[in-house]
Homo-oligomer: 585 residues x 2
Amino acid sequence: MSYKAPVDDMSFLLKNVFDVQQQFDGISQYQDFDYDLYNAVLEEGAKFAENILYPLNRDGDEEGCQHEGHDVTTPKGFKEAYQQFCEGGWQGINGDPEYGGQGLPKALHVLVEEMLYASNTSFTLYPSLTAGACSALAAHGSDVLKQTYLENMQSGVWSGSMCLTEPHSGSDLGILKSKAEPNEDGSYKISGTKIFITGGEHDMADNIIHLVLARLPDAPKGPRGISLFLVPKFMVNDDGSLGERNPVFCGSIEHKMGIKASSTCVLNFDEATGYLIGEPHRGLACMFTMMNKERLSIALQGVGLADVSYQIARQYAEERIQGRSSREGKQGASILEHADVRRMLLSMRSVTEINRALAVYLGMNIDLDEHATDIETKQKAARRVALLTPIAKAFFTDSGFENCNHGIQVLGGHGYVREWGLEQFARDARIAQIYEGTNGIQAQDLVVRKVCADKGAAITELFDDISETIKQSSDSDFKHVGVSLEKHLSVVKELVSVLLQQNEEQGAAMQGGAVEFLNAVAYVIGGWLWLKQLLASNALTELEQKRKLAASEFYYDHLMPRIEGYAQSIKNGYHLTFALDDELV
Amino acid sequence: MSYKAPVDDMSFLLKNVFDVQQQFDGISQYQDFDYDLYNAVLEEGAKFAENILYPLNRDGDEEGCQHEGHDVTTPKGFKEAYQQFCEGGWQGINGDPEYGGQGLPKALHVLVEEMLYASNTSFTLYPSLTAGACSALAAHGSDVLKQTYLENMQSGVWSGSMCLTEPHSGSDLGILKSKAEPNEDGSYKISGTKIFITGGEHDMADNIIHLVLARLPDAPKGPRGISLFLVPKFMVNDDGSLGERNPVFCGSIEHKMGIKASSTCVLNFDEATGYLIGEPHRGLACMFTMMNKERLSIALQGVGLADVSYQIARQYAEERIQGRSSREGKQGASILEHADVRRMLLSMRSVTEINRALAVYLGMNIDLDEHATDIETKQKAARRVALLTPIAKAFFTDSGFENCNHGIQVLGGHGYVREWGLEQFARDARIAQIYEGTNGIQAQDLVVRKVCADKGAAITELFDDISETIKQSSDSDFKHVGVSLEKHLSVVKELVSVLLQQNEEQGAAMQGGAVEFLNAVAYVIGGWLWLKQLLASNALTELEQKRKLAASEFYYDHLMPRIEGYAQSIKNGYHLTFALDDELV
């Protein structure tokens, strides 16, 4: 069973739904780009994903990573694939052109990321972490650091890792203990233990550049006393060649539910030499400038895995003859004819296609935030990115996991055995709900920082844009869709008021409904993105138009009603739950 | 982290909520039993589950079953545990007393099953399949077959398997191909390949008795041409000793997402000697007499795994210090203080406690169906069992998987690594949504055979009982709960009308909403069982009363609202989805 990257749908989003080049008007970095170039990148990305990464996926899961001494070995074929990945220039496609990056827009990059995650999530995590490290370094590193490290990282010759978590310090980074002591030459001695470090050690790149959070001796307690350091695995000589091994060693790797070919390391820093990135005690802020991109990357893990699950389940359903067709009443039909199988497949596709659309929209806003010359555009984009990132991260990965499980269910017993690969997609998808901030943390970020903090201003601004699309639809063939969306939108608008009021009256108890609120908002945004796609669908072939229509109807009829359940629950409030004595929970 | 079987809650259900002995009044087989005996059984079961099975669970998952030649080896410790299981008399607790079974009620047996699944699902599947085979043999086997096999099976000295699925024939048994050719002595030669055979081969019992579906030479096509045969691994001599090896061999075992210590075998029957059970061509009917019990058993896998996940997650949450307490605003609180963690834990507990209640209720109805002397009681019980079995199987296992995933989420990254065991519970739980009839098949069974076939009569009878409880609550402290339940009940009553009408007008398209309908009904039944528990809660300690109240409030405020989402989706209908050309799905 094969995976085909959905290049046509991706092109449709970039050009017809969002017309990103139009949005990028005036941004010099993107002026020489056009849709032909974007399509060529997508086509090449598809080839790499389908032909190089996908065939390594199952075996990589079976073999996993091996840890011996200080070394970690990746599964057979990974090293060669990584070589090709670097040679193809994939590491730096969204990277800073000043240091060898290709400077292509995030709106395009997210689509490439989707393909990579779909075809081989474990593999893709290595370059994803490198890209995150590059972003932080590019934004906050000194020129010397950038000159020494960034080009080799953006080419993938050296990879990167992000060292945040410690055994006692996960979601709460404020209590981390790793120490940084100044050396005389301006560098630092970094000591401490970091856990859950993706790509912390492996055998694919010549060097690994760790970005590490640690405390300076004079650091205030809590999150405002954390600084960010660059700690290379091998020291870099003045001529750029590799020098001594820096004492940062992999103590063990985790044995996990999934992403088994991605090394998840315990790293021990034993007075390893490091270099400060950005200001002292401002490490968390530096880290968070790249966190939006990292969260969006992980969000795409959910989209990619849901899509590959859909594709395999769809192929299986067509070939599996079982039972009487409930459509035509005849014996010996494929299970694609069964109402419940159709429900699961359309559920998968209809969510995946709006998640993909939101990824492009969010990527485009990251681009506008970074590059727009017009200050209003830039600021609006920044607000939109802040608002939508936690939604994308949590919703894409929650719905991704749900849809991977639909995929298993379509295959029945065959979905549960390893041979078919569906269960691997679900296992690989499960972690995305946890790392880069659990989905509970995302929801809390949304309601506390992104909605209550500005009293609903940014989300109202989004709702206004949704209303604008509804207005546009009023003299189209999709007027009825707009009418339905309007109804759901008003429910979610009311929820914003409810949340703000609960926040006033009940304080943090309100956060009990955060996950449901995030979902309710996400389903309305999905409805909006379906409407936007329908309004642009005359650019599609007749078959593709019909497929879009089918998926959007399913979404409106059967998934948007979930909003009603979330709304009732949120209105009931979590004050009772919150007030309970611990022993009653 | 330890598992404690919830013995007190189980006693409360048996005695105070359902007063099963009162219900069993007049059933001679149960007259000598009392609550002291039931409690003693539960206490002993708890010891066995907690001390013998639970410690083997994680290592069993790591080691898995090994296949070599024709043999399958279970993980270290399983054989000894199985020995103790048999010596404790656990195999036959619900078995036919005429052949060494203890004849204890199913209402009690389900609770023991929950403990066993919670502590070690892989192990528990072996005796569960044996119990299923015993039921079918007891109900349909000839006296000679019963005398030869049943006592050794009910003691567990010999185990059983159920051989239904073939490579091309899963949910659709009507197309199976295995053949049975008559021998001159009245036995048959069985040939064919069976897959997904749980406990089809292992090293724990002296003999394995396979119940096998196959076709006689003169069999009509389809499901009415299938007969049931008993095929022993070792032939049994006239004196009861074991004779020759029968040619039924394990060709391979599956590598699965979970239940790795449960052997899932490909069995090749090569003219193996078998004996007809029941009438020729009536094999499916024979099989289905025990299917309700098997489905309920698998349902309990969902309950047990959700409960053990809750217990571990609850312990972890109390010990894990992380972040500011959103309850008390102070730094350094346990994550149990976080609103979202409370939401997940209460979600787990509030569903588990109503699923457990429904299991007892359903078990009690199985007992009444089998043993009640009053024909009306018996027939009502039979209708209730038919109606509730698919609901229990699908809802317990779907919510079980959801809740195991909540458990992972509470632990964050630690939930995803194998060390803590939470991810194993989720992997082990995932199969329960698939085997013994996928949950989609359960939902189809519910809407087609159990609701539409009698035009809603049986489900209306259930709704009347629910209304009766609401009436009882009207002069209690829980009147408001009854009022809320009434409201949800009316929504679900309307859904029955909607379904019946869709069935008339749209035919099989209606089945697209089957899973949602099943869930909506299940949540209302849950609300009923919460009300019943509250009405009986004065028998509890003050702390336990408060815990019941907390969980029931959570359930009503935050889980029952889901009904509204299902209702809207069902009312929108699946006729559009159903009518789509295949290429649009």
